[in-house]
């Protein structure tokens, strides 16, 4: 649905995006990650036609954004980092304006009502945008992106500045939209990616660092998975069983947390998921598993590890060239 091929963008001497390529297939929710200044917004602006790439091609549904911008833009709904709202307008006036702007063919009132129902802004439909809370403004921003029912939705940090309740609501909304649209979501928040995205593209300094399924990427970066399990059963026997479970590299008791269950730290071998084996072994012994939590890395750790990995590979390549 989205094809990004060797895109580069220079701002004067600074290279914001460098030879970036990735695809997004139809119906996928793609998480677009990177530290500040990595080139995420620039890439999104190129995909949406707001900026032109210095070189390379961006295609939406097979249509080149530079060769046929009008047709390509009909297929995109874009929510920039700052929702592009006119504060002096009411929600109704604003959505009506975007409807006209996109030259929408759906029945006007019905289409706008459906969108308002989806993003839950029906109760503020006739209010001035300047009087709305940040959460509602964000929803109005999403609503304008949905007008015209575009195949592709691009959200640039849609939950930034929202309170936890609003963040959860927006995540649910994006997840729901992902059932009918192809979504590209830029964010800094790892739980957001894990909760919402099917696949992750990580960029740093304008270059592609990783492009993998969410689970695979996190596993690949973590190397080992750390779990905390709460188990009811004889302490020594449980620990012995845990250590003997295939794929478990290390296990230790963390202590009693509840009256009858004991917490254990379990570390698996690289790229092995031991959760199923653990469950079956515990079940076989009749020891109830009353809690299982993953001790996962945060986004900063993932960035650092990915970037370090990339640097190490570059150093290895350079050494290889010198030796050759």
């Amino acid at each position: 649905m989205i094809e990004i091929m060797n895109i580069s963008k220079n701002f004067g001497d600074k290279k914001a995006v460098s030879d970036l390529s990735f695809n997004v297939v139809e119906g996928e929710i793609l998480g677009f990650l990177g530290p500040n200044g990595a080139g995420k917004s620039t890439t999104m602006n190129i995909i949406t036609g707001y900026l032109s790439a210095s070189s390379g091609t961006a295609r939406i549904d097979g249509i080149d954004i530079l060769e046929n911008p009008t047709e390509a833009k009909r297929r995109i709904g874009f929510l920039p980092e700052i929702p592009p709202l006119y504060p002096e307008m009411t929600v109704k006036e604003y959505l009506g304006f975007v409807y006209d702007l996109k030259d929408c063919r759906f029945p006007r009132e019905q289409h706008l009502k459906e969108i308002c129902d989806v993003v839950k802004i029906g109760d503020v439909y006739k209010r001035m945008i300047k009087n709305l809370s940040k959460g509602y403004r964000q929803r109005v921003g999403i609503a304008q992106a949905l007008i015209g029912n575009p195949k592709v939705l691009i959200f640039d940090e849609p939950t930034i500045g929202l309170d936890p309740k609003q963040i959860i609501e927006i995540r649910h909304l994006i997840k729901m939209l992902g059932r009918e649209h192809t979504v590209v979501l830029s964010t800094h928040i790892l739980p957001e990616v894990q909760a919402v995205c099917d696949r992750i593209v990580v960029i740093n300094e304008g270059k592609l660092v990783a492009n993998e399924k969410t689970e695979d990427l996190i596993m690949a970066v973590e190397g080992t998975r750390k779990l905390v399990a709460k188990i009811v059963g004889p302490e020594a026997d449980v620990l012995k069983m845990l250590k003997s479970t295939g794929g478990v590299r290390y296990a230790e008791m963390l202590g009693k947390r509840d009256t009858d269950s004991i917490s254990y730290l379990i570390e698996s071998e690289e790229k092995i998921d031991v959760r199923k084996s653990l469950f079956y072994n515990l079940s076989k012994n009749g020891w109830p598993l009353v809690g299982l939590e993953g001790m996962e890395l945060n986004l900063e750790d993932i960035f650092i590890r990915l970037i370090d990995k990339e640097k190490n590979e570059q150093v290895k390549k350079k050494r290889g060239v010198k030796q050759a």
């Binding site: 036609g49 707001y50 009909r74 874009f78 002096e88 304006f97 006209d100 702007l101 030259d103």
Partner: protein, 235 residues
């Protein structure tokens, strides 16, 4: 283009700018008209009225144009315009015609002043019509200059001040030319001078060259505005 035109037109009257422009235009024009013609009981000073109105346009028209692009750029609302299936030319034309509509509507209401002249005498219809046409074309060109300068900045105040300064500079060209003795500099400058181009209209002439000049001037600045956005997209 029509969606942008309608939004901008409505926006003038959702904010005070539209009312300020219309009110000041009609008030200043009414007072000037009264002093130059009605109180004099003569149409001899009518050319003075039209010249004063050109100077008034230099200050008032930037009020109409200052926010057209700068505000969108500052508040980032331009992103919804530039990522929608509307061409850059369509976007610029929509905004240009919105400002032109407010100007034209006020200009039309103000034209009832001229009807009063016929209550007191028999003024030359051709003279009045030619001057009105010239004044309208100058206003249209000033709007184009104003939107071009608004597209260069995200600060409304800077857009207004540079527009007033640029229009004043263009108007003062006539007086500069008069003091230039060198023929090869004076002649091309005279060709570009707005006030020199306006002179035929004061002489009851519907000079086609001048009409084409003013329409071209507007078209060139609308084109420059489109180019500003194209350049920003690529740079």
């Amino acid at each position: 283009m029509i969606a942008i035109y309608k939004r901008e037109l409505k926006s003038y009257f959702l904010t005070p700018i539209g009312y300020i422009f219309c009110g000041m235009y009609l008030a200043v024009s009414g007072i000037t008209f009264s002093y130059t013609t009605l109180l004099e009981q003569s149409t001899e000073s009518l050319p003075t009225y039209f010249l004063i109105m050109i100077a008034v346009f230099a200050v008032l028209i930037p009020l109409l144009t200052m926010k057209l692009f700068s505000e969108d750029r500052k508040s980032r609302t331009e992103q919804v315009l530039l990522t929608s299936p509307v061409s850059l030319t369509g976007m610029v034309m929509g905004k240009y015609f919105a400002a032109l509509t407010v100007f034209t509507a006020t200009f039309f209401v103000n034209s009832f002043n001229y009807v009063l002249l016929f209550q007191y005498g028999s003024p030359n219809v051709t003279t009045i019509f030619a001057n009105i046409l010239g004044l309208f074309l100058i206003g249209s060109a000033f709007i184009a200059i104003g939107i071009f300068l608004s597209a260069l900045t995200e600060n409304q105040l800077i857009a207004a001040v540079t527009s007033i300064g640029s229009i004043a500079a263009v108007l003062s060209l006539k007086f500069v030319i008069e003091n230039i003795g060198i023929e090869w500099i004076r002649v091309p400058l005279k060709w570009f001078s707005i006030l020199d181009r306006y002179t035929p209209f004061t002489q009851e002439l519907l000079d086609v060259t001048s009409i084409v000049y003013f329409i071209s001037l507007s078209a060139v600045f609308v084109f420059f505005t489109v180019r500003v956005y194209e350049k920003r997209r690529w740079s």
